[in-house]
Amino acid sequence: MLSRVADALFWMSRYLERAEQVARSLDVTFHLELDLHGVTGSEEGEEWNYLFRSLNQTPPPAKLGESYSYTVLRWLTLDMSNQGSVMNCLNRSRNNARSIRDSISSEMWRSLNKLYWRLNDRDFQTQVTESLSEFCETVQNGTQLFHGVCDTTLTHDEGWHFIQLGRYLERAQHLLLVLKSQLDLSPVEDTGDTVFSNLHWAAVLKTCAAYDAYRRLYISRVDGERVLEFLLLNLDFPHSVRFCATTMMNSLTAISGELSYRSDNEALRHVGRLVNELTYLDNLEMSNAELKSLLSDCLNRCTLISRSMQKQYALH
């Protein structure tokens, strides 16, 4: 496979995953805002800051005479001057796809293109601020449909594995950032306001599309440490860091084929160590600071994986 094609597949998939995350996080935070308004009755903006930290973005400046929610909403959905808006991510994903549309199935291209034109529809755009949920749902359905189509119409060969890598690397990084910024907001030692903290941890689960799966497994109230354990260490849930790492390892192994045992496969080495770290971790009974440093280590590992892949496969 051409290196340029591998690169475009990887980024097509990363940006699409990012678009989905921004949409889901925004939707969840927007509703959390409404809930918290009832509980605390104050502090507008705190949740938004948390959101921007978890997305690794800087918040937009507030505009005079406009509610901050509204500003954020426009900024994260349609604003093309924001590199991290849903539209921008989708646009980049589509541009990558367009540059290699002969290497993906026509069904994949069509599904991505349909999503793009749907979001570019003027009527649809004017409704974004009134019905945010519809917008976010369209994005999530569209991206998931794309991956469904991808899984059933594309040969699961090298190219497909690069798509997996983009998707799960992006997801792992996002999960880690969400958890990390959540630990800032409500540290695990903090046993103060449980209503407040529960709402927040529930929001974390929803942001990671994990609310139902969590409840099915733990059958209890939402609890910070369990959420952390679930999203970090669960082996079978697609939005857990360990699941992402394992998937990346499988894909990297498949791509490198017979060379996989070689010690000069740097990307594979880094993924392997991430998997091991999460698999053989003693337990999560740590202080908030220790947890945060664990998450930071994992994040660094993700950066190393990305960097060594670029080197190894001549990606850009």
């Binding site: 051409l2 591998a6 367009r98 290699i100 002969d102 026509s106 293109n113 349909k114 090298e158 001549a314």
Partner: protein
């Protein structure tokens, strides 16, 4: 609004009620506004279709094109704008007999042009025998003197030719120009068919339309045929300037349909005269390049040194026979507008045959009698610069101002070699959906001819439509649309055949009887 699917009334519909005939040849209707034989079923169907229903179908084609991402890029200032490919749902229909004549004419023309290219890059017999003035070739912008004496694989220069045909007022098919460099449009020909079948399947019920979807497979066979000898299956790639090129859709479409890699210049490298592509597993050898980049940009070491689209060293590798290119380098001299007037003579010279398809009458300012004719009648003529294409650098006499005419006259007198002039031909018209009804709009036809082990012409071609009323410019960059183009199977005309006089064009169809794809062995 939900349209009625089967209107009870068969009275003439609002679609065709105001249709009128001008001086141009109308593809569907004769001078008495009666449908031609092969258009009758379509005509009756259109009569029973309401404008609303038709508008709905048209909207479906646009949506379908948009969702499939079928389009082209138009550059205005710096921003590239993605335009959706415009297709008119009324198909253009070519009966089997007409198509046979066209196909034979195209084969003949391509074989002759290929002989011409071989000759001017080798013996230059045609110059020595004084059939063409030497300066027309030597000074031609697209003559590559670097390639004199170079042998190209299988002796074929033009593997893919898109020939533009128009119809004169009497219905005769004429060749307007040959495109032997990197002709485009075939992906639209294929897509138009796919989309029309999807949005208006009923139209196909009344006809037996020859399929055209074999084109990518036929093209791949041509490309594999010209490969240098390899131990393995040859590796074929399509070289594109990239996604910002206006024809990028076509490049990716063809690469995908052939199952070959689409590469850009930066994906390729030349080492020891061999061409490789950079892959995730290191280098991979490339045998054949279907290049959609002009000669000038192909190799910065040989042609334009500022080209970043090309591959340094590619030309040397080609010259050494280590890689095959389609089309070959230097074919531009064969579709040079300065050579065009000589193509009938080229056919006679190399093949000893009379041309089956005629040229449009053409005047060359270099000939004194032509020059005076041009200067006197410039207001009635179309004047073209020989080195320009795509509808640029043209003077359409009847639509020009006095000042423009004077400017062109001066330019012609200064550089007669740079111009040709032709009578303003009213291209044939075809009923086309405009706003709420059908109106006649001018069309041309570009069939695609493939030259490999044999010559293959997939039935049909790209019909382009000039959408503004009265316009003769069909280029998509200038507001042209397109139509699906049907070539009918011979048997579907069985009923009409008996009504036609038997003798007509009988002599012209002796060769490829019964075969839908015209094929002949290379001479």
């Amino acid at each position: 609004m939900e349209p009625s699917t089967s209107p009870t009334s068969s009275s003439s519909s609002d679609l065709l009620s105001q249709y009128s005939i001008g001086e141009a040849f109308d593809e569907m209707l004769d001078a008495n506004l009666q449908p031609r034989e092969h258009y009758k079923p379509l005509y009756h169907r259109l009569q029973q279709t309401t404008a609303n229903e038709f508008r709905r179908r048209k909207a479906m084609t646009d949506l379908s094109m948009r969702q499939d991402g079928v389009g082209f890029t138009v550059y205005q200032a710096e921003e590239g704008i993605e335009r959706v490919w415009p297709m008119d749902p009324v198909p253009r229909i070519i009966p089997a007999q007409e198509w046979k004549l066209i196909a034979r004419g195209l084969e003949q023309r391509l074989i002759a042009l290929n002989e011409f290219l071989w000759d001017i890059y080798h013996e230059q017999r045609i110059i020595r025998e004084k059939r063409i003035p030497p300066h027309l070739i030597i000074q031609g912008k697209n003559f590559r003197r670097e390639f004199v004496g170079v042998n190209v694989p299988k002796r074929i220069y033009i593997h893919i030719c898109g020939t533009d045909l128009i119809r004169a007022a009497n219905g005769e098919y004429l060749v307007l120009e040959d495109n032997g460099r990197t002709p485009s449009g075939v992906s639209y020909m294929l897509t138009n068919r796919q989309v029309l079948k999807r949005v208006y399947p009923a139209l196909f019920n009344d006809y037996e339309v020859l399929p055209n979807d074999d084109y990518p497979a036929a093209l791949l066979e041509v490309l594999q045929y010209i490969s240098p000898p390899t131990s393995d299956k040859p590796t074929v790639v399509l070289l594109s300037p990239g996604m910002y090129n206006s024809a990028y859709f076509e490049h990716s479409f063809l690469a995908q349909r052939m199952g070959i890699e689409l590469v850009e210049g930066r994906d390729l490298l030349v080492d020891q005269n061999r061409v490789y592509m950079r892959t995730t597993r290191g280098r991979k050898r490339v045998d054949v390049i279907y290049r959609r980049i002009d000669d000038d940009f192909l190799d910065p070491l040989t042609f334009r040194s500022d080209s970043v689209l090309g591959v340094p060293g590619l030309v040397n590798s080609y010259r050494a026979g280590k890689v095959a290119l389609a089309n070959s380098i230097g074919t531009g001299i064969a579709d040079d507008k300065g050579i065009y007037p000589f193509v009938p003579d080229i056919i006679r010279f190399y093949l000893g045959q009379e041309p089956i398809l005629n040229n449009v009458e053409t005047f060359r300012p270099e000939v004194p009698s032509h020059l005076s004719h041009i200067l006197e009648n410039i207001h009635k003529l179309v004047v073209k610069r020989v080195n320009e294409s795509g509808g640029y650098g043209m003077l359409v006499g009847p639509a020009s101002t006095k000042q423009q005419q004077e400017d062109f006259k001066a330019a012609i007198k200064a550089n007669p070699r740079d111009f040709i002039a032709q009578p303003t031909i009213q291209l044939s018209v075809h009923p086309t959906f405009v706003e709420n009804r059908l109106e006649g709009r001018h069309v041309d036809l570009r069939p695609f001819v493939l030259y490999g082990e044999k010559i293959v012409i997939v039935p049909g071609g790209l019909t382009r439509v000039a959408l503004p009323k009265g316009s003769l410019v069909v280029n998509s960059s200038q507001g042209g649309g397109s139509k699906d183009t049907w070539v009918l199977a011979e048997r579907s005309l069985a009923q009409t055949q008996s009504q036609m006089s038997q003798s007509q064009s009988q002599s012209q169809m002796s060769q490829s009887q019964g075969s839908s794809q015209a094929q002949i062995q290379r001479g």
